[in-house]
């Protein structure tokens, strides 16, 4: 049977049956209320404290919602909520998004991806000019909502340095994109186990001329791994941006590690067919389109350009 058909049927079934949280373990607790019932109470005609926002949220999803360009989705991935059904709530997600809008009106957050080079200026109590600027390669971008984080990596004085920034922290003064590009992988943590030359960028690097709706290129550079030991078992991960490793200690070691990596409990090929797992770890497309429909409306008021220094 066609897999896409199974997936479609499964999602249909799940949605008609109602909320998924009934399956979760925590439901036997007496002193708590289910997500669906709470939403009913918020909008019920007996509730005298209800507000207009709560009404709007419970509107059924229609096909008339505004179409969101795919590039907008890609460059602002943090607006989708955490897909764990045990911890979801409409009002809490809305409130968090409102805070993000307010911050976006104050500070310019440019478009960037994992693999592009950024420079972040931060208010620092202990720095000499009370601000510190760090330039580096973005090797990670993750977490939802106000928790959204990035990690920059660079080499200073032959020492690899990494900085983690929370994008919605009020300490951040400015975010500049020096070079806008992508890499072949979604996370570049393997650069920790590569020669330092691959993650070296001068701190006074000149920024690229970036204009609106610029096409994003992918950097197809393939890096070399250092000899083992590594921080993770990279032979078990399918890495695109890494050359095939040759520095094995012996042929015996190579065969042994290859055999271990090909074990079924390591590869976990059944996870590709696990539809429930996929459903639990993602947000349904209808809902994500409803959320991004709101975000696109608000994006007109965001700060779209940096203020020019006089």
């Amino acid at each position: 049977m066609n897999t896409s058909l199974i997936k479609h049927l499964c999602t249909l079934l799940l949605r008609t049956n109602g909320e998924l949280s009934t399956i979760s373990k925590r439901c036997y607790q007496s002193h708590r209320i289910r997500n669906q019932t709470l939403d009913k109470h918020r909008t019920s005609p007996l509730n005298k404290q209800k507000t207009e926002d709560a009404k709007n949220d419970s509107k059924p999803v229609t096909n008339k919602d505004p179409e969101v360009p795919t590039r907008f989705l890609q460059k602002n991935p943090e607006f989708l909520p955490n897909p764990d059904w045990g911890y979801r709530d409409q009002i809490a997600e809305m409130v968090e998004r409102n805070d993000m809008y307010r911050r976006r009106r104050n500070i310019f957050m440019p478009e960037f991806y994992v693999g592009s080079i950024l420079a972040v200026t931060l208010a620092d109590k202990f720095a000499l000019g009370k601000t510190s600027r760090f330039l580096g390669l973005c090797i990670y971008r993750g977490d939802q909502g106000l928790h959204h984080k990035i990690i920059l990596r660079n080499v200073i004085d032959n020492e690899g340095v990494e900085m983690m920034y929370e994008l919605y922290s009020p300490l951040i003064q400015k975010i500049e994109v020096i070079k806008l590009e992508r890499r072949l992988d979604d996370e570049l943590f393997y650069l920790r186990d590569c020669p330092l030359e691959y993650s070296y960028f001068p701190q006074d690097m000149e920024s690229q001329n970036i204009f609106k709706d610029m096409p994003v290129t992918t950097n197809t550079i393939k890096v070399k791994l250092n000899p083992r030991p590594w921080s993770q078992r990279w032979e078990r991960v399918d890495l695109q941006g890494v050359e095939p490793f040759t520095g094995w200690k012996s042929e015996k070691q190579r065969l042994k590690l290859k055999r271990l990596a090909n074990q079924p409990q390591v590869k976990k090929e059944w996870e590709k067919m696990d539809l429930m797992k996929h459903y639990r770890e993602s947000i349904p497309p209808e809902e994500s389109m409803r959320i991004y429909g709101e975000v696109v409306k608000d994006a007109k008021d965001w700060k779209n350009r940096e203020e020019r220094e006089t």
């Binding site: 931060l122 620092d124 109590k125 202990f126 720095a127 510190s132 760090f134 984080k149 080499v155 200073i156 004085d157 032959n158 020492e159 690899g160 340095v161 990494e162 900085m163 983690m164 920034y165 929370e166 922290s169 300490l171 920790r192 020669p195 330092l196 030359e197 691959y198 070296y200 001068p202 250092n226 000899p227 030991p229 200690k249």
Partner: protein, 147 residues
């Protein structure tokens, strides 16, 4: 593209060669505790001789209630058959936001009276150390770069 490659070549010539080693230097959490190895980053003779011999410095004691060293903690080291005090100046462990994480565990050697043994620190050190009082002012005075 060509410019980057040129840059890389220039950079690689300035960088030290990677020495192959067959043992793990720290546990998966990279916590600094007793018997974990560290890198001495000042230009003292002891530190340089330890690098030449290929024997890293070992932590014998952490002056701390938790027993696990963080940035700014005082430790006792064993280098080249000697006991020496030192301060942790950079960690490999996962850090909080806005504080730097380094590829190595860096330590600066200190005499018994608190003056640093070397005259210069070769790597950048985190600027949050400026918030500490006491003996740290002497170490900050020999630092070259802050992150």
């Amino acid at each position: 593209m060509a410019q980057i490659l040129k840059l890389l070549q220039v950079a690689s010539s300035a960088l030290p060669r990677v020495v192959q080693c067959n043992f793990r230097t720290s546990a998966c959490l990279s916590e600094l505790q007793k018997l974990s190895t560290v890198q001495v980053v000042d230009n003292s003779i002891l530190g340089r001789s330890a690098v030449k011999r290929g024997k890293k410095a070992k932590i014998i004691h952490v002056y701390n209630s938790a027993g696990i060293g963080k940035i700014g903690d005082k430790v006792l080291l064993a280098i080249c058959g000697e006991k020496k005090h030192g301060y942790i100046v950079g960690c490999k462990q996962k850090q909080k936001p806005n504080t730097p994480r380094f590829d190595n565990n860096n330590v600066v050697l200190v005499e018994e009276n608190g003056t640093p043994t070397g005259t210069r620190i070769r790597v950048p050190i985190p600027s949050c150390l400026r918030g500490k009082d006491g003996e740290f002012t002497k170490i900050l005075s020999i630092a070259t770069k802050f992150v």
